[in-house]
């Protein structure tokens, strides 16, 4: 800090500017204004400004201060409409009437395959058995009256389980540590909604009832095929069903009886012996039949971190994991900055920081988000995941919301922020991801040419007049993400999905063979091969994936100077202009020479006269 060195009568020698400067440094490094005690220390003879600076350059507030810069740039929180509850993981809940006339809850999955034709792909009871038309993702029909289900049917089609959200020891054979009843010290931030803890009559829930198929705990199942044929047009669905009976997929027809992993979309859609796993840990409870139903309480805003929320709200179940995705990014940044690690790791690191809900997400939820259409390309479950589930520590339970652990290596495909769900979801297309990186880490923007756009049939935006100005740079950036499926976070490996795939070459009618158009782009395919969607900008980038993006972008000279500009602009509280060129250059030299570490950069920045003097236009006042 450029503060007058403390003399024997320091207080008397301090100027108003010294105090202002100390206050500014406190706001930037401590995250708040100085307390009277800190001011007194500042006024004491012998106050060592450099030591003070070094002491606070490693603190939590410093790491949060830098994190804020990049969170402001990338806005890494899921939009309010974002929900994440893939069918294999969403456990909806319906209220029916039991044999004794008491209401009870039954959990079930949408599209669950069942051996009984009447309920195959539906709720495990028919409308005749319950008096209710039950449909996942639909609210209860008004005006329906529940009728008692016989005990025989209830026992035949449902079972009871002690689930993970109620029991700390749900992996044990006989769980006994129930939430706040035997499990007396749950993490205060782990708060199931009240409706998950109570039965319809208000008594405490000690176990949950669910359809028998959903309760299965096997890790592997078998491809189920019925041999059904498509009904003639106009034929009403049998058994009074609203929807026709599910048909076999081509893959199920060809692989009937084969073994499959239950943690996959195939496990739900093409098997009758795959369920939610031990303690239902592969599934997320929802307290109603709609995605908007609740599961947990958590804050809307945590501007000072998870330890100091400013609110606490009942949230939609499908926002549970997206909330933690955002926190993963925050913790990743804070780990990077508090440890003063090489800033290039922001785009290249194999490590990450996760807690219990994220461990559950990576271990069981995300694997269930793949695969169905991919199966015909030889991918029945994730082959090269962005976060290898085997790297998730077993000691992290879904309830451990405040326990954060560093995972040193997420797997070969992991690459800093670029492979985190929040980045891939927030910027949901390859182009959006490319543009975000271009702006946040290279300080460049896409500015359109002042040209008249003419109608064009040219699919290649890198050459189409008027588009090429931006897309010549954007398409190759987007190509880095061609292998990350939009919306599912699934990585498409090159052996199964080569950029140029001769199995997906154009047919005589100009279309691609069945299933290919999900992954291959007819506009860039020809009679020799289909071209992977999004890869045309740079097949090399597509094959390298996000990891190559991280490597390439951090090797550019603009990366370092952009980081310096971002940090300097934030600390000065104003945009960096050409007038700052000399300062930016000298700070960039410091940054690069010190191994791209932020602490030397911030130290140099805060000791510069520019920091002290930049915001020195006086305001008056009384």
């Amino acid at each position: 800090l450029v503060i007058a060195s403390a003399s024997s009568d320091a207080r008397a020698s301090r100027t108003r500017e010294d105090y202002r400067h100390f206050r500014a440094a406190s706001i930037d490094l401590l995250g708040r204004m100085p307390t009277p005690a800190e001011l007194a220390a500042f006024e004491r003879p012998g106050f060592d400004a450099d030591a003070w600076l070094d002491q606070h350059l490693g603190g939590a507030a410093y790491a949060q201060r830098l994190t804020r810069i990049y969170m402001d740039l990338l806005r890494l929180e899921p939009g309010v409409a974002v929900q994440f509850a893939p069918d294999p993981t969403a456990l909806y809940r319906q209220q029916i009437m039991g044999p004794d006339g008491k209401l009870l809850h039954v959990y079930f999955r949408a599209r669950q395959r069942r051996a009984r034709d009447e309920t195959d792909g539906e709720f495990c009871f028919t409308p005749e058995e319950t008096g209710l038309h039950v449909e996942a993702r639909q609210p209860p029909r008004p005006g329906e009256t529940a009728i008692p289900v016989s005990k025989a049917l209830l026992d035949k089609y449902t079972v009871v389980v002690k689930p993970w959200w109620l029991y700390r020891d749900y992996l044990q054979l006989a769980p006994s540590k129930r939430y706040k009843a035997g499990w007396d010290d749950p993490d205060p931030a782990y708060q199931p909604v009240d409706t998950l803890l109570k039965e319809p009559d208000g008594s405490a829930t000690v176990e949950v009832r669910l359809c028998r198929e959903e309760a299965q705990a096997s890790e592997t199942g078998h491809i189920y095929a019925t041999g059904r044929v498509r009904p003639a047009p106009g034929t009403l669905p049998p058994f009074g069903r609203k929807r026709p009976l599910p048909l076999d997929t081509p893959y199920a027809r060809d692989h009937k009886g084969e073994s499959i992993r239950c943690q996959s979309k195939l496990g739900l859609e093409s098997s009758i012996d795959c369920g939610c796993g031990t303690g239902l840990e592969h599934c997320l409870p929802i307290d109603s039949t709609v995605l908007g139903g609740g599961a947990f309480m958590f804050p809307n805003h945590v501007p000072l971190g998870l330890g100091a929320p400013i609110d606490d709200a009942r949230q939609q179940a499908a926002r549970w994991y997206p909330f933690w995705w955002s926190q993963e990014a925050t913790h990743f940044f804070e780990y990077l900055f508090s440890g003063d690690r090489d800033f290039r790791e922001v785009l290249t690191a194999h490590y990450s920081v996760i807690n219990g809900p994220l461990a559950q997400f990576y271990r069981t939820i995300q694997p269930s988000n793949c695969c169905d259409k991919e199966a015909s390309f030889g991918m029945q479950s994730e082959i090269e995941p962005l976060f290898d589930p085997k790297r998730v520590p077993i000691e992290l339970f879904p309830h451990d919301v405040a326990s954060w652990k560093v995972i040193d290596d997420r797997g070969d495909r992991a690459s800093g922020l670029l492979t985190m769900p929040i980045f891939l979801e927030k910027f949901a297309s390859g182009r959006a991801r490319g543009a975000a990186l271009y702006n946040a880490f290279l300080c460049k923007s896409f500015v359109a040419d002042d040209v008249q756009l003419e109608p064009s049939t040219e699919p290649n935006l890198m050459v189409r007049p008027g588009c090429s100005t931006c897309h010549a740079a954007l398409e190759p950036l987007a190509a880095y993400f061609a292998r990350v499926e939009a919306g599912s976070l699934v990585y498409l490996p090159s052996p199964q999905f080569p950029v140029a795939n001769d199995k997906c070459k154009k047919k005589a009618d100009g279309r691609l063979p069945g299933g290919c158009e999900n992954f291959y782009d007819p506009a860039f395919s020809d009679v020799h091969a289909g071209t992977l969607r999004g890869a045309y900008g740079s097949p090399q980038h597509a094959d390298g994936g996000p990891a190559l993006a991280g490597k390439d972008l951090t090797a550019l000279p603009d990366f370092a100077s952009c980081a310096v500009q971002r940090v300097a602009a934030s600390f000065f509280g104003r945009p960096i202009t050409h007038d700052d060129a000399a300062l930016v250059q000298s700070l960039t030299e410091v940054f690069v020479s010190k191994g791209y570490r932020m602490r030397p950069l911030v130290r140099a920045l805060m000791k510069s006269s520019a920091y002290r003097d930049a915001n020195n236009v006086r305001s008056g006042g009384s």
Binding site: Y19, R23, P36, V80, A308, D311, D312, A610, A614, G621
Partner: protein
């Protein structure tokens, strides 16, 4: 006539003569009249305290509590009369909302100033209720002895809120605030004054606190 013709000929001859030209010539260096260094450093007004820092400072001034604890204490038995909820103030304070892609506010606006005012009043009122309790040892804002003179007591508040001694203020701030304090005390002590939960002295200090917690210097750095 002959003279007229001669004169006209002279005029015509003059008009048709060669044009006058200004040839470029060196004028030498201009004489220096004085030297003035040009300061090319970009200059800006003081920037707004980030809302995170404002919130942390507010919590610190309240005694180092968590946001929800402060919310409960600030609301007290008055419900939302004095303090709504942090969620209600979130946008007004300038926090970015990443979920909605709303950037952080870097300049004040009417809503923000109103939020600062309401939060400031809540802080000061609760601090008066707490700190002026007889025998209170753990004072959070009004950490002075009643025997001190006004300037000494005001300096405690000035340092707590604005971060430097009142004596270094650019104006005669201590005198102005003393006048404010005295006028409020007098008004509250006068016959027929509206009923207040504060004594005249407490009301006077609350008014001083309002003035400092809303001061531009508190919100800028």
């Amino acid at each position: 006539v002959r003279a007229l013709v001669f004169a006209s000929a002279l005029v015509i001859a003059g008009c048709g003569g060669p044009k006058e030209r200004v040839a470029p010539a060196s004028v030498g260096a201009l004489e220096a009249r004085g030297a003035m260094p040009q300061d090319s450093a970009p200059k800006e007004e003081l920037r707004m305290v980030p809302p995170e820092a404002y919130l942390r400072t507010y919590l610190e001034l309240f005694g180092g509590l968590l946001p929800l604890e402060v919310q409960a204490r600030a609301r007290g038995k008055d419900g939302a009369q004095l303090f709504d909820t942090w969620g209600d103030y979130f946008s007004a304070l300038g926090f970015p909302d990443y979920r909605l892609d709303l950037p952080r506010a870097t300049q004040t606006n009417a809503l923000m100033v109103a939020a600062f005012e309401r939060l400031g009043v809540a802080l000061c009122d609760r601090a008066v209720e707490h700190d002026f309790k007889p025998g209170e040892k753990d004072k959070v804002i009004f950490a002075f002895e009643s025997a001190d003179d006004f300037a000494a007591r005001f300096d405690v508040l000035h340092r707590a809120f604005l971060g430097y001694p009142a004596a270094l203020a650019p104006t005669d701030r201590t005198k102005r605030f003393a006048e404010l304090y005295e006028s409020v005390v007098a008004r509250h002590a006068s016959p027929g004054a509206p009923k207040s939960r504060f004594s005249p002295e407490e009301a006077g200090w609350a008014a001083v606190c309002y003035g400092l917690v809303r001061h531009p210097e508190f919100h800028l750095y």
